[in-house]
């Protein structure tokens, strides 16, 4: 635990503010990154509403919903963990961070199973894709977006898991306190963002064509 801030900072409070601002700016870039993809998806959904609706009905909504619950729970655990770390409850906080990371792993596992199912149903564009019916073209487009979006998101989850694991270890060793908790806060922000992106993707991927 650093008693002094890094040399470019005047005090720990400045260091903390800088870390937070930095993470917010980074999250802004991520919004634009996923935003570009979601824009592309939206353009094609507008052009082929029925095709996208039909294709979306072929997604694994049970797995998708479970995964949403998993991520939301993990975000809750992270938020709790951050506040506990600030209060000095190191062991419990570390446990919660680890649990959130573990839930992240479960998410990835479920995602892997889901991909395997989709491979079995011949729904992987560019690799193994068979879709009968007149909406084949738009289904191809839909699943292209599906794999790119969930793939890139999964990469972000994987990075998040590693970050949470490191934070868990450091928390266990008592690195954080009310005086110094920037890395934990900032890691929490990142994880919440990854969760939020998933919520949007869930709505765009699993829900079309299933509303009624």
């Amino acid at each position: 635990m650093p008693e002094t801030p890094a040399f470019q900072f005047v005090n720990l409070r400045q260091q903390h503010e800088v870390a937070q601002l930095g993470m917010w700016v980074f999250l802004a870039t991520e919004v634009l990154f996923f935003g570009g993809l979601i824009l592309g998806y939206s353009v094609y959904r507008f052009m082929y509403p029925e095709g996208f609706a039909e294709a979306a009905r072929h997604t694994q909504i049970a797995i998708g919903t479970t995964n949403t619950a998993i991520l939301l729970t993990s975000s809750f655990l992270v938020a709790w963990a951050v506040s506990l770390a600030r209060l000095g409850a190191h062991r419990l906080a570390a446990l919660l961070f680890a649990a959130a990371a573990a839930l992240g792993c479960v998410f990835l596992l479920m995602k892997g199973i889901e991909y395997r199912i989709e491979y079995g149903e011949h729904l992987v564009p560019g690799y193994f894709f068979i879709f009968r019916g007149p909406n084949a073209t738009s289904a191809w487009l839909f699943f292209s977006f599906y794999f790119v979006a969930t793939g890139v998101h999964a990469l972000h989850v994987a990075i998040g898991i590693m970050v949470l694991a490191v934070i868990a270890l450091k928390t266990r060793r008592g690195a954080y306190s009310e005086r110094y908790h920037a890395p934990a806060t900032v890691a929490g922000l990142y994880w919440h963002f990854v969760d939020l992106v998933w919520v949007f993707l869930f709505a765009l991927i699993y829900l079309p064509g299933r509303a009624s």
Partner: protein, 535 residues
Amino acid sequence: MTERNYLTEDTRIISWLFTTDHKRIAILFFAAITLFFFVGGAAATMIRLELVSPQGRFVTSDVYNRLFTIHGVVMVWFFLIPSIPSTLGNFIVPLMIGARDLAFPRLNLTSFYLFMLGGCVTLYAVFAGGVDTGWTFYTPFSTMYSNGHVVLAVVGVFITGFSSILTGLNFIVTIHRLRAPGLTWYRLPLFLWSLYATSVILVLATPVLAMTLLLVALDRVFGVGIFDPDRGGDPLLFQHLFWFYSHPAVYIMILPGMGVVSELVAVFSRKAVFGYKFVAWSAIAIAVVGFFVWGHHMFVSGQSVFAGLVFSFMSFIVAVPSAIKVFNWTATLHKGWVRFDAPMLYALAFIGLFTLGGLTGLFLACLAYDVYVTDTYFVIAHFHYIMVGGMVTAYFGGLHYWWPKITGRMYPEYWARAAAILIFFGFNLTFFPQFILGVLGMPRRYHVYPPEFQVWHVLSSAGASILAIAYLLPLFYLLWSMFYGARAPANPWGATGLEWLTPSPPPKHNFEATPAVTRPPYEYTLSGEARPQNA
């Protein structure tokens, strides 16, 4: 005299390779972008040689197409975009705000290595046979028809994009949080306002490019077909996504130059910049409005007439803040004490050439005229006036201005002025004939052309040969000055910014004690005496 400064602090190579000192990272970037400038310049030289004759027998079509592509890719992403921010910005920003380094020094080093990695991947694409899509990578040519190394090139640019994002992120946080006490926003030198505006664009626009290039790469590798009309995709979607980044990108390229010019015009008129707040906020206005004009690259693409009207209107609006800056810079000279040192020659050249380039932008913003001259040499001339006549000129101006601070040496003044004048002359001879070519209807990306266009191409190539020599001059005399130039004092120009409080070159951590700021920037007495920003 071996005083301790950031250069002499630790001279082992390893200390340079793992440095987190913003000043050393700036030097690393200087070297890197100079290398890329010459790569892009070599491509330009071959292009201009080819264009001397209408039948074009110097290189084949395929080679020519690869040449203009690599010229664009390298100059845009590996020279212009990083130029001022990663070199002068990295060096000067902490000094100018009274800080010891940027907010995230290790991120800064990461930014450099990402830049180098991206650069290496792209250079590998060149040596492996090149890319022939143009720097704009339009689909479906790039995704389905090109037989160049498209994936390598877009991966290289993708990686370098993260370098841009990290630099922007670092600057935003630094300018927000690491200012010296008393340094309020309205006491910030205009260079920082411009860099802040640039950083906002870097951070918000680059991710969209990243996603777009990722989709192009996936399209090519897996045949995904997001932009392929045969698979229900839309080639115009690529253009919208691409230009959503690439238009703000041109403001990434010019805003830092405008920031430098504000500094130069103040110092070399010994007078505060006229209309400081207007100039400051015009930078922000350019950054914001610049996000809403991308469709002016697509007036003939098949987008709707309504979209054309909106984008044309916004493009005229975005020109207004630039005009405001030009008027304010000119007014700054009024009743000042104007000196003609090399940096000021560059600043004056910038104002003239940027204005000319900017005004020709009006021709392009104007819908019916754009229909005629888009995709012709008119556009090429327009953006070279702004990028080269504007941005590169400002870069040279800033380089000469801060050279004493960076190296501790003065450059040879008469050589510098001679080079500045030669550059100005060579530049105009190269690019003005290209406006004429455009107005006569010569399309771009052509290496063979009807004979009636030849005379203008010959003039342009003649200018390019002069420009090539003129650009080599600073390389030589600046390098010379590093070893034999006169030693520079802390404030050779008698300027007011905080960076001039430190020795030339500065020590590793810039300031022993953080300065306290009590004055706005650019305060000079009526007789031209500087009043530094701290007490």
